[in-house]
Symmetry: C2
Subunit: 336 residues, 2 copies
């Protein structure tokens, strides 16, 4: 690239736009469909159903321990597809860049997106870039939309959780939110906390191929596991009981939450998955999960009960019970 910083002309659709695409984007994104440089991609697709998802990413700061906005933009949409029982195939990418944004930083983000896409084995097939004047956006926002094909036999949905289901999580909670928050506020933590951002599609695919009886899956991102469990309790019209002492959390994350006065139940994750599993299948599912890098610490955190529908309870460490509500205000804006 001739320029060190993004100019308005890089979003014009004209010569500078074409240079940005040819000299920077195509250095990292080189799918044959994308290389056509038409305004849309034509792709082979053989399933009878498609799964379609979209998310915009506005995280601040754009680089943080263990990841960046590009990594979560790929992993987040991959995971949204996987949670609905899909094998993610194709991603679109829409960039909104601030005039003056660093080309070197953009390059790091593109590399990170391509690395995550390769790990997830998903193809980046079409894209769009807009540039807005300085001050009209904070550095860079990214939208990714994704298409997946259903994993045969699976029929997971937030509406399908059943009484008696055991709730499994693939590892410790609240890392992503704390990593971003600490980075944003310049907190010096004794032990570095990294985002958990990761593509979970391979892990999920093996679970669903082996145990198609799984009822629901969801990634507890914004609003943390408390909000996600409340969503599923409402959608499925069941109650959920979780056990505080069973919740996996790294000691350094627990300490950071205590210092900052934040409840880890409400802190965003970017590489976690809640699995609603029929009780007889639990051991089988845990064995699968624990084989995977992103499921080594999989464990049971609760179960689905009947009453009262739509509510989430926690059995506390001291033996009491408290209601876990959905997040009411906004604890941490721009967390993803």
């Amino acid at each position: 690239m001739e320029n060190n910083n993004i100019l308005l002309g890089h979003g014009s659709g004209g010569t500078l736009s074409h240079a940005l695409i040819a000299e920077l984007f195509l250095k990292y994104f080189n799918d044959p469909a994308l290389l056509q440089l038409d305004d849309a991609a034509r792709l082979n697709f053989s399933a009878e159903n498609i799964i379609f998802s979209t998310d915009s990413y506005v995280v601040d700061p754009i680089f943080f321990p263990g990841g960046d906005i590009g990594k979560i933009a790929v992993c987040g949409t991959v995971n949204d597809l996987a949670m609905l029982g899909a094998r993610p195939l194709f991603l679109s990418v829409g960039f909104i860049l601030e005039e003056g944004f660093s080309v070197a930083q953009l390059e790091l983000i593109l590399k990170s997106m391509q690395d995550s896409a390769e790990e997830a084995q998903v193809r980046i097939v079409t894209g769009d870039t807009k540039v807005v004047p300085h001050g009209a956006v904070d550095k860079i926002f990214i939208n990714t939309s994704g298409i997946g094909e259903p994993i045969s036999g699976a029929h997971v949905s937030g509406h399908n959780a059943q009484i008696g289901d055991v709730i499994i999580i693939n590892g410790p909670i609240a890392q992503h939110g704390i990593a971003v928050m600490a980075s944003r506020e310049g907190l010096k933590l004794e032990v570095n906390i990294e985002t958990d951002a990761a593509p979970l599609n391979h892990l999920v695919a093996e679970i669903l191929e082996t145990v198609p009886e799984i009822h629901a899956l969801r990634d507890p991102t914004r609003g943390g596991i408390a909000t996600t469990l409340n969503e599923i309790a409402r959608q499925s019209k069941i109650a959920i009981k979780i056990v505080e002492s069973a919740l996996p959390i790294l000691p350094q994350v627990q300490s950071a939450c205590e210092i900052l006065g934040l409840d880890p139940l409400y802190i965003a994750n970017e590489g976690k998955c809640l699995v609603f599993c029929p009780a007889p299948k639990v051991d089988q599912v845990l064995t699968i999960m624990q084989k995977y890098k992103y499921g080594q610490n999989a464990c049971i955190i609760g179960e689905v009960i009947g009453d009262p529908p739509g509510k989430v309870f926690m059995e506390t460490a001291i033996g009491g019970q408290r209601i876990i509500d959905m997040l009411a205000g906004e604890q941490l804006p721009r967390i993803c």
Copy 2:
């Protein structure tokens, strides 16, 4: 909605997010797939190929004569799909809202999106909303991504233009850019100029179903017809000659361009389509186009020639010839 303005909590994923969706979004968007409120949509799809496209919309101002950001967000992606020979089926919508943004304005935008989606007969099936603190984005940005199925027999691409093709446009150029520009700068024009934003998919579908021999289609948005013709000349390795006196332009748009010192060839359109048509099929295509509201003023503007590949020429009104380059800088930022 209880609130008159968007709060950060409306993007939290928690209670306020759910209220925003239930009380405002679902008032306008009510597709059965969307109503599931899962993080992705599951959709029936029977074709063997999919067409996939994405665009982010950052237009300023967000309301302008004849349209708003919502209308172009739907029409723009519908048109990108149509131009690659697809029947658009599904749209995703990603909103990025500024804290404090007017709920009443958001409602107008949602209504406008739904109206355009109905006109295009495309389903809005999944979405995402982020809210960022005041100053981190200018009011509202929208991403739409779209999925379409190929129109049987069609094989249009920017790479397929052939020597001898006649180039047709469906109506007058440069309205959108001038409408937005005049509105942004508060120019008082003698005659009001409205955006041409429109969904062209029905018009395109009939052309391609009747004349599958069409070689290329493209909507001349950012950078205007000059930039789009240059793209196709490069992709197809052919030359293009257009005739100045044949270019359709409304007199009030022509006057505004002269006053503002802008070249209409480089001004964005949002409801125009360039058709690269084999010469023997021209009358048939013009007849089809002229039946449609958005094609009444369809006319021939030029042809594809052989040399030198990648170049665009214009036969000027005074009988000379000039090279039409791609847009070099940025004439009008945030035009779409």
